[in-house]
């Protein structure tokens, strides 16, 4: 057996020498941590660079949108609208700040007793835009004056008026005429602007005049026509 084996031309090595030793692999945690840290920092740098580019693009897009919106803005349109708005507000202020003298005169006619004579009428707008009404009247006696005051207080327009400056006068009796007594007094009232607005009478024009039912103010003088409905509507529309 040994001779047959030794006769082989293939050199034989002892079995013990051919056995590989199992290699022990050393794991260095620090090395791995460094590699992970290095790769992470590379990825983070790349990520932040891409994110920066993305945000820059986004900023450019937003800037572009802003420029587009700014191009849409028209200064002339703004001025046109603000001018009209201011005009309407100012017109409305003037219109609503007025007081109808006609209504005051009609109220005076309505409340004046037959036995009372209205001798003077003064209506004035003072510097504080407050309106002062002063009526000078003459009554035959105090009872009439008291009743006149009572009637005045119940009127919608002249209610709240005060009776001041009461003077009693008695003309001496002569041979030809009888003695005549009279009570002179003044009626005063402060009127706030806008509380007694002028009444605008409106009529509906027939179809022959206009294409459809259209409201128009009546006017007897050529230069007269009211624009009250227009102004009030516009203020509602344009004032925020």
């Amino acid at each position: 057996m040994d001779s047959s084996q030794s006769s082989s031309f293939i050199p034989k090595t002892p079995m013990s020498g051919t056995l590989n030793k199992r290699r022990v692999r050393k794991i260095y945690i620090f090395t791995y941590l460094i590699y992970i840290f290095f790769i992470s920092s590379l990825l983070a740098a790349g990520g932040t660079w891409f994110y920066k580019v993305s945000t820059q693009n986004k900023l450019a897009a937003v800037q572009s949108e802003l420029n587009e919106e700014r191009k849409k803005f028209n200064q002339a349109d703004l001025e046109k609208v603000t001018e009209l708005d201011s005009l309407i507000i100012e017109a409305n202020k003037i219109l609503t700040g007025q007081v109808s003298v006609v209504q005051i005169l009609e109220a005076v006619e309505r409340v004046t007793l037959v036995a009372v004579d209205m001798r003077g009428f003064l209506f004035e707008k003072d510097i504080n835009t407050k309106l002062v009404l002063e009526l000078s009247a003459e009554a035959s006696d105090f009872n009439t004056t008291l009743f006149q005051r009572q009637v005045l207080s119940g009127d919608a327009v002249l209610g709240g008026a005060t009776v001041t400056g009461v003077t009693y006068a008695n003309t001496a009796a002569s041979e030809d005429s009888k003695a005549k007594s009279s009570v002179l007094f003044t009626v005063e009232k402060d009127i706030l602007p806008g509380t007694i607005l002028p009444q605008v009478q409106t009529v509906t024009l027939p179809p022959t005049v206009s294409s459809g039912p259209e409201e128009q103010t009546t006017s007897s003088a050529a230069a007269t026509e009211s624009v009250q409905p227009l102004v009030n509507d516009n203020v509602e529309l344009l004032t925020p």
Partner: protein, 219 residues
């Protein structure tokens, strides 16, 4: 110290340098860009909203009838044509058979409006617009029938442009016995009025005076 240790040390240094010299500053700049994006987006939204509001207002302005706007311009013109106003007053008084004994115009007084809109301009040095309301008083003394006078007042109140009665005096104001006696025999009354009309100039303060309204002719 072998080759591997040197490499590891080198990688560590590179990584730390990369974090502190690139990643961190980039993050800071990204934050700044994001703040800018927020600001620009906010500004864009505001401009967009403003434009929408403006276009809505323009649409409303376009919806107004031209005649209404013309009437508004007549009601509150940019300037007061004193002569035309006096002519109108004379026509109105004459229409009601009243005799004018005095008609005089006063000085024009102006006041700054409190309805001016504050407009913040995005660019350019625009002069802020300040509206200016001016008024002129007219002293009128007429005599005639009381009903005719009332009819004249009705027409003044209905006028296309304001002719506000700011003073009206009929008869004696302070009642004394003498005044009562002197007024007693009067058959025709005398009426002292002060009328006021207004103008509103939006463009005056900008040096671009333009007529948007005009006082209409009397007849």
């Amino acid at each position: 110290m072998n080759y591997s240790t040197i490499t590891q040390f080198f990688f560590l240094i590179i990584a730390i340098a990369m974090v502190f010299t690139f990643t961190r500053p980039t993050l800071v700049s990204i934050r700044a860009i994001q703040d800018d994006i927020f600001l620009y987006a906010d500004a864009k939204d505001k401009v967009s909203e403003f434009n929408n509001q403006l276009s809505n207002l323009l649409a409303k302005e376009q919806s107004f009838q031209r005649t209404d706007l013309h009437n508004l311009g007549i009601y509150l013109p940019t300037t007061i044509d004193t002569l035309a106003v006096m002519s109108d007053i004379e026509v109105i008084a004459r229409t009601h058979h009243l005799v004018i004994s005095k008609l005089a115009s006063g000085e024009e007084t102006s006041s700054q409006s409190d309805v001016s809109l504050e407009v913040e301009y995005v660019e350019g040095d625009e002069i802020p617009v300040v509206e200016k309301t001016s008024s002129t008083d007219f002293e009128l003394t007429v005599s005639g029938d009381y009903e005719d006078f009332k009819a004249m007042l009705v027409d003044l109140e209905r006028n296309k442009y304001p002719l506000e009665v700011i003073k009206l005096q009929i008869g004696a104001v302070s009642v004394t016995q003498e005044a009562v006696v002197s007024e007693a025999g009067a058959t025709e009354s005398t009426y002292d009025l002060t009328l006021r009309t207004y103008a509103f100039d939006y463009a005056e303060s900008r040096g671009q005076s333009e007529v948007v309204g005009e006082i209409p002719p009397a007849m």
